[in-house]
């Protein structure tokens, strides 16, 4: 058990190092790389098209559930529901739209990136790129990174909006709060918006980096591709949760909520 624990901690540091190095190279090529016409646009379409429907469905359910839980909790503390919308919207903007939405996003986008890059590795296409002076980070990772940051943010914002509508519906039906009372933005500050947006961007980037790293590290045929896909989904979800704790802590100190 002990050796197992030390080994997993060592593996964690190794992973963190690999991810940091890939992130560094991605930023380098983002600034100095050779632009490939249309590749970013194509990846953006891919990311958005692949995840939008899934995101709307899951965020609809999540929004309904969170509104219900918030209502239950509010009922125990204060007798009236007049502030439930304001509180819900604040939570949504500051954290939940980004942090909960990023998990389905990771499932969909992360798995796609890892499977695609993984199968390029096992069919030697990545080696072939290297032989053609196309660095895989420059040619493959950078467009995915940009697409995931931009479209990930867009899709998360749309998901957040769906969650807001779902929450409004639940508040109306279960707690008898009319949509007008529910739509109360008085508690949402610019700081909340900035923090939420920053989270979206960070998660989008993290999904691309973690999944690309797993994909490019694939070895051993199609079984290896399956393995890389799994690791990409789990790794991206875990990265999101860790980043959430870090950003939320920083936000607590530097972006006061109330």
């Amino acid at each position: 058990m002990r050796s197992g624990l030390t080994r997993s901690i060592a593996a964690l540091f190794e992973d963190a190092h690999q991810l940091g190095s890939l992130f560094g190279r991605t930023l380098y090529y983002l600034l100095h790389g050779k632009r490939e016409k249309g590749s970013v646009a194509r990846m953006m379409f891919e990311v958005g098209n692949k995840s939008l429907l899934f995101m709307c469905v899951t965020m609809g359910f999540i929004g309904a559930i969170i509104a219900f839980q918030t209502g239950l909790q509010a009922k125990k503390l204060v007798p009236d529901f007049s502030m439930i919308g304001a509180t819900y919207l604040k939570l949504l903007v500051r954290d939940l739209a980004a942090s909960l939405g990023a998990l389905p996003l990771a499932t969909r986008v992360g798995a796609g990136i890892a499977a695609e890059l993984g199968s390029m590795v096992v069919t030697e296409q990545v080696d072939a790129l290297r032989m053609c002076a196309a660095d895989p980070v420059d040619y493959l990772v950078v467009p995915r990174f940009v697409a995931s940051v931009v479209m990930g943010t867009v899709v998360l914002i749309i998901g957040g909006f769906v969650a807001y509508l779902a929450g409004m519906a639940v508040a109306q039906m279960v707690f008898d709060v009319n949509p007008h009372t529910f739509t109360n933005l008085s508690m949402v500050t610019t700081g909340d918006l900035t923090l939420g947006l920053f989270k979206c961007i960070t998660y989008g980037g993290a999904i691309a980096i973690v999944s690309s790293q797993r994909g490019l590290a694939t070895f051993g045929g199609s079984e290896g591709v399956g393995h890389a896909t799994t690791e990409a989904v789990v790794g991206s979800c875990f990265a999101i949760i860790v980043l959430n704790l870090i950003i939320s802590t920083l936000g607590y100190f530097f972006v006061p909520a109330l």
Binding site: A64, I65, L72, G112, T229, I241, L245, T249
Partner: protein, 266 residues
């Protein structure tokens, strides 16, 4: 593309696509439902392959423990941070324990654990069954008069459900630890005050709701991942497609189950 009728009549393209999605969805839901029936019929303690069961319990549960525990610890911490501004504003230090654990136990703990479990165990399960399917090992079992559902599916379903519930209990404990630690460090809330607030205001029911949910999530992931695994077609690339489809379908299934159970288990 030009050969498909949809592009010949652009007006019909969208309803046609929706129809295809609905048919595929009905097919998959029906398939997973049938599998559930087949599993239930075979649930007789003596007929379950013990070795397969224990192997799967170990593989699925014990080896997922580190990542699940880490997830839970972080979740506990995050919930305290989210509650923090309200605690400070209303000076409600004796509420923070309850506020953080209520949502974690009832909702976020089971949900996040299920999503990680899905990515790790569910996907692996589909990949394994899918590989067996495309390499004709499933047919080989049939040829040996071994029932594939009884031998392969039943132990996996039991293992996933049991382990999902067990991981949820452990996850709750770890999340509580993470929450206590964060509250102590960040908000200067004494651990004893935190725990007493959590214990006083939480019902056993709040805890049980989480467990019932994880049972449902485990069942959902188990059925979906086994169904997609056994429905794999088209060689090695087919396994990749099946894994992807299974992860997405299970995640969607978990959200739907969560939604329904949240309202039923008020």
């Amino acid at each position: 593309m030009s050969a498909t009728p949809s592009s010949a009549r652009p007006l019909l393209a969208i309803p046609r696509r929706i129809g295809l999605v609905v048919i595929a969805l009905a097919d998959q839901l029906g398939g997973a439902g049938m599998l559930l029936g087949q599993v239930l019929v075979r649930l007789r303690p003596r007929r379950i392959d013990r070795y397969e069961l224990f192997r799967n319990l170990h593989r699925m549960g014990v080896r997922s423990l580190p990542i699940i525990a880490a997830t839970a610890a972080f979740t506990g911490g995050i919930m305290v941070i989210q509650a923090a501004p309200f605690v400070e504003k209303y000076n409600a230090k004796n509420f923070v324990g309850w506020a953080a654990t209520f949502t974690t136990f009832r909702e976020l703990g089971p949900l996040l654990i299920a999503l990680i479990f899905n990515g790790r165990v569910g996907a692996n399960n589909t990949a394994e069954l899918g590989t067996m399917k495309v390499t004709d090992q499933v047919d080989a079992l049939r040829a040996l008069a071994i029932d594939p559902v009884g031998y392969l599916v039943v132990p996996r379903v039991i293992a996933m459900v049991v382990m999902m519930v067990a991981l949820c209990v452990i996850g709750d404990a770890v999340a509580l630890g993470g929450a206590v630690l964060t509250a102590d460090l960040l908000l200067d809330v004494d651990p004893r005050i935190f725990l007493s607030s959590a214990l006083e205001r939480l019902d056993t029911w709040d805890f049980l709701v989480g467990l019932i949910k994880s049972l449902l999530f485990g069942l959902m992931i188990a059925l979906m991942s086994c169904y997609y695994g056994l429905a794999t077609r088209g060689g090695a690339p087919g396994v990749g497609r099946a894994v992807n489809a299974s992860v997405v379908a299970s995640a969607a299934g978990v959200f739907v189950a969560d939604y329904l159970s949240t309202f039923v288990l008020e």
